[in-house]
Each structure stands twice: as C-alpha cells, then as structure tokens.
C-alpha cells in the first residue's frame, strides 16, 4: 500500500509548472489538446451546418416559419418534379464528361510539364492561373466568349471556316449549353489535375524508366507499364476530390446559364438555391443538396479503400 501511494504523494509535492510540463508530456492529454482547435472548427463549420441541413431536409422548413418533421417526404416528392429529374441527369452527365476530360488532359499536361522545357517554372505557374483566378471573374470572361451576339469563339470558328455564320448559340441550346459549362469546368479544374499528377510523376524513380528502356520498352509501353500503375494512387485521390467538387459545382452554371435553357444545365447546388433560398423552401432545398450524399459517401469509401490497398 505504501508503495502504491508514493507517486501520488510525490506528484502532489511537485511545483505547478512541473506538473503542467509532466501533463503535457502525456500523449493522452497532448493529443486531444493539439487537435481540439481543428475539432472545434470542424464541429462549428462542418458538422453543425451539415446536421442542420440534414434536419431541414427531413422537415417542411420554410424561411422564418415553424417547421415540422416530415420524414423522407421531401426526397420522395422531388422525384415528381421534371426540373429535379433533369437536374439529376445533368449532374451525372456534367460530372462524367468533366472528370473524363480532366483525367486525359490532366495526364497529358502533366507529362508535358515534366519534360525539360524552357521557362519551366513560369509555365508551371501560368498553368495554375485558371485555378487561382476567382471563379466568378473567370466565368464572366467565359460568358463574354460565349455571348450570343459577340462570341469570340464563334468569330474565330467562322474566320477559320469551321463554323457557319452565325455559329452555335452556346448558352441558348441545351447540348451546346452543357458543352459550354463542361468546357469551363474542365478549364478550371485542369490545373488541379495536372499539378497533382505532376507531383506523382516527379516521385517515380528514374531507374524504373531506365530499366524499362533497357528491356526495350518504347514510350507507350513505359507509360502503360511504369507511369500509369505508379500514378494510380495519386489519380484515385485527384478523381475522388474532383468528383465531389464537380458534383457540387455552383458558380459556373449559376453565372453562365442560370440552369437553363429549360433546366438543361441545372445542377444540385443551383436548383437547391432556386428552391431553398429564392423560394424560401429550406426543407426541399436541403433535400436537393443532400440527395447525392449517400452516393458520394460510397464513392469516398470505395476510393479511400482502394488507395489504402495500394499504399500497404
């Protein structure tokens, strides 16, 4: 008994500074202490709004009025809306095409940037510009380029003889409008893909290429059997992030087409704003924005699992 009480007595005699130092040495205290600021931020800025959105989506919340729990009614009723069905389809078309183009163009650009180029640093910096410029500003530029009367895209196409005057009405016809918003999303998201993949490329040991070359592998074989397998992990992460960002895109569509023509470019975020904020139906608006949450959760789970498998 005497032995067991000894440390407590000794501890009590320590000056308070030494006690604090000793406590800080304990991982059990120090760990939570260091992570708590981040946890507080996550709880306040992510968890709380998310829980509120979840609650709204299960209620008939209307701005400034008392709300009641309605279960999954909002999610079920949305299927009756033509605009929502169109939005659901748009989201997959928009994300699918945008991600596919960003993968192909991102790898190509990264391979190009990995070469010994003149002004390499400046070029790498410039590639990041679309990612750095505020979206609202750059989309304004695109809006002018796709302007129905003074489109520089059409002007160039007509001058080169590849378009018949007056050229496509980019933002006024549904397939062209979808092409336009996908193009702007690819333009904006490409630097993220290219620079991240470039980081992956730089980390591939040169010896592997030398060995493959010694075995007689050509450029295509080297890319297929060396580069691509070693980029899989980076690609999975980039695609994961980009899928989430692209599904939840707002600025590009809101500014370029406002969801038109005839709802053909509406995405979940833009429709959610239209219903939830402009019309005051917070419940339905929240349900629209959360509709894909289970799907995205599954995508995140599957891709992270794949990445872990690759890593270990």
């Amino acid at each position: 008994m005497a032995i067991s009480t000894f440390p407590v007595t000794a501890h009590a005699r320590l000056p308070w500074r030494a006690r604090v130092r000793e406590m800080l040495d304990r991982e059990r205290i120090l760990g939570p202490l260091f992570t708590s600021p981040a946890m507080i931020l996550i709880v306040l800025l992510v968890a709380y709004p998310f829980c509120m959105a979840l609650y709204f989506s299960l209620s008939n919340a209307f701005i400034g009025r008392p709300s009641h729990f309605v279960g999954l009614r909002n999610f079920i009723n949305l299927w009756d809306s033509d605009a929502f069905q169109q939005t659901f389809q748009n989201a997959f078309v928009f994300t699918g095409f945008a991600i596919a183009f960003k993968i192909v163009l991102g790898i190509s650009l990264a391979l190009l940037l990995n070469q010994q180029l003149w002004f390499k640093r400046m070029i790498r910096g410039m590639v990041l510009l679309p990612w750095v410029i505020p979206t609202a500003l750059s989309v304004l530029g695109w809006q002018w380029m796709f302007n129905s009367s003074y489109s520089v895209v059409n002007w160039t196409g007509i001058a080169l003889g590849i378009m018949d005057p007056p050229g496509p009405n980019w933002l006024g016809q549904k397939y062209y409008a979808m092409t336009a918003v996908v193009a702007v999303n690819v333009w904006r998201g490409l630097p993220f893909f290219a620079i991240t993949i470039l980081a992956g490329l730089v980390s591939i040991p040169k010896e592997l290429y030398e060995a493959a070359e010694a075995d007689g592998a050509g450029p295509w074989a080297r890319f297929w059997y060396v580069t691509l397998p070693l980029l899989k992990g980076v690609l999975a992460i980039v695609v994961l992030f980009s899928t989430i960002f692209t599904f939840s895109d707002f600025n590009i569509v809101y500014q370029l087409t406002h969801g038109g023509p005839i709802n053909s470019t509406h995405l979940f975020a833009t429709l959610s704003r239209q219903i939830g904020l402009e019309s005051g139906r917070l419940g339905e608006g929240a349900a629209i924005s959360l509709y894909l949450f289970p799907v995205l959760m599954f995508v995140v789970y599957a891709q992270l699992k794949y990445v872990r498998k690759q890593a270990y």
């Binding site: 209307f62 400034g64 009367s149 023509p261 005839i262």
Partner: protein, 424 residues
Amino acid sequence: MSTMSRRRFVATSTAGLAGILAPRIPPAVGQQREISYLCWNNFAPLMDKKLAEIGTRFTKDTGIKLKIDHIAHAQQPAKYAAEVQTQSGHDLVEMRMHFPWLYEPQLVDVSDLVAQLEKQYGAAISSAKETAHVRGVWRAVPQYHGMFVATYREDLFKKASLKIPDTWEDLYVAGKELKKMGHPVGIPISQNYDTISTAGPILWSFGGLEVDKDGKTVRINSPATEQMLEWYKKMFKDAMDPEVLSWTDASNNESIQQGKSGWIHNPVSAYLIAKQKKLPTADLINHHRTPGGPAGRHDTDVPRHIGIWKFSKNVEPAKEFIKYILGKREVYDEYIMSADAFNLPTYDKLKEHPVLKTDPKYAALSGEGVQYHAYGWPAPPSDKVQLITNSFILPNMVAKAVTGTPTKESVAWAEREMKKILAG
C-alpha cells in the same frame, strides 16, 4: 489618503455593474438610438447616393443614427434567410415584389404607416398592394417601382414608316420589317426574370393566366395560352434572332444600346444608361406604352418596399425613418428625382410625378391605361405561386414551344408542373 479595502472594492464594483446591466440596454444605445437599413444595390446608383445623404440629414434632424448597408439584388434571398434564421441583423430591409409574402411572419405590421401615406398620396398602386398587403395586413411600406415599358428605335420606325405598336399583333407586323432591316425585336426567352416580365403581360393581354385568383386552380391550359404561344412562335421565327434563348436580364438592354435590337420590353434603364454613357443610340431610342391585346393592356413592374423585422429592438425609430423618407413630400420627391425616372412613386396621386417632365422621352412612363401586376397575377402571391415563378415554368413553356415542342404539349407540360407545385 483614504484607502479602500479589497472587500469594499469588490462590493462597490459589483453593485455598479449590476446597475448598468439591470436595464438590459447597453449604455451607448441608451444614450443614442441607432437603426440599420439593408438596402439593395440600386440599379439607379445615384439613388443610393441620395439615400446616404437623406440618412445623414435624418440623423441630424432626429438624433437617430442610421447605418445603411447595400447588397446585390441576387444576394438578397440568402442574406434575408440568414437574418431570419438567426433572428439578428438589420432593423429595416428593402423588399422587392413578393418578399413581404415570403417573410410575412417575420415582418412588423406597418398598416399605420401605409394608411398615413395613402392619406397623403392616394392609394398604393395595384402591384404594390398585391405584393405588400398580406392577408389584410401591410407587411411592408411601398416606396417605389421600376416599370416595364416598350423601348424602340424611333429612327428605324420612321425610316420604314412603321406604326407604333398598340397591340402585340402590331408588334409582329413591325417586328418582321425590323428584322429585315437587321434590327430584330429583342424579347428574352430564357431562365431569367425579364422573360417573365414580358411573357406575363402577353399572356394576360391574350386573356390567359397561370393560376386562378383562388390561388389553387391551375388555369394555364387554355385557348388564350395557345394563342399566346402561337404569337411567340411566329415572332421567334419572323421577327427575332435565336440568341434570345440565352439572354440574361441585361442582354436586351445591351442589344438596343449597341444598335442591334429595334424594339425591346424593359424598364427605362436601357435609355438611361445609353444617355449616361453618351452612346450614339441614346438619341435614337424612345418609349411607348406596353402593347395590349384582346383582354386589355397589362404590364409587370417591380414594386419595392421597406419592411421592419419583428426581431428588431428598434421598431419605433425604424418607423421614424420610413416616415421621414416617404412621408415628407419634399424628401420623397428628392429621393425619386435622383433615380431619373428609373424608380417611380407607388401612390396614385404621384403617378404624374415631376420627374416624368424632365425628359420628353419619359412621357410613356405614366403608363396610361396600363394595369400593373405582380408575377403570377391574379393568384395571390403565396409561397407556391412564388415557386411557380422562380421555377421559370412560364419562360420554359415558351422556350419549348418556339424550339419545336408542339404548342399543346408545351402547355400540358406547364400545367403538369404547376399542378405538382400547388399540390405539394
């Protein structure tokens, strides 16, 4: 030197603090009353400057400090939703069109103020009453409205000896010639509010409506709607360019200012901006009243009101400000004059406001014989009717029809969508 014991110091300071906290009013507020006003970024920027000037004078005259913040009109719904959800923010808010219906339970009853203003200036105009008078109670005070009017190239009409359109059919006749001259009619057919502002009046003047005045029965599927769509189809084919399918709210302004469109339906801003920027087209543009049809001459406008949030702790000072800016005739006149006819008073006796005499091209703005309505008229502007408007069903019905969907199918689609919203 006398000394104070620690115990006495704590007792005295605690008693003092309790005295300050007891009235539950911060001392600074107790000394000077302060209110805040969240206003939109006016499309007539000089009106914002004038508002600031009037605010300064108001503070000098009444001792009530006024803080004015501005916000882009597209951001208003999100900001207002946040203020209502958190029950904090500004005391006074600028409310356009249906906002008083949307935020009804959160707005102070201002019927006393409106009664006083109506006594001074006559009844509030129809669209102002439709949007701010909610279930028998004024939830916001009408202050001004921006109205739609026909804007045309006078030189082109004279050159081709075209008649100023009195009806929408007249516009088709003139529009065909204008298009041949390379200056098509510019009526947007896209997901924006200008499209509704023109499609609504055309529908009404053909005798059609979206929802009945009971607010529950969908009436879009009617021969009048079909006639309206047939009119749009021939206009689109013979008098307009396909670019209208992608137009934003600003496109028709730009088109006539830059010399392309020969006729547009828009507030007077197209002319005002051309005049301010000294564009060559400024001298060529003029206005005429909105065309009518078999069921009369209707138009939409954007009535704008001032509301007071119920959570405000300064309701009385806020009312003081409304009385000051709208109730004092000389201040109200000064405020209206600063907008150069873009925003006009919303009271009957002020319809022929002196601002209309400042430029001969404003003559048509008196809106003689024109009935002004809010979107969705004659249905009361409930949250469901608001959703029908915000879902752009009317513009999309027109867009479907002009891009190849059979008329009946387009109307049936609109009817289905409207019924789903009303049933929801």
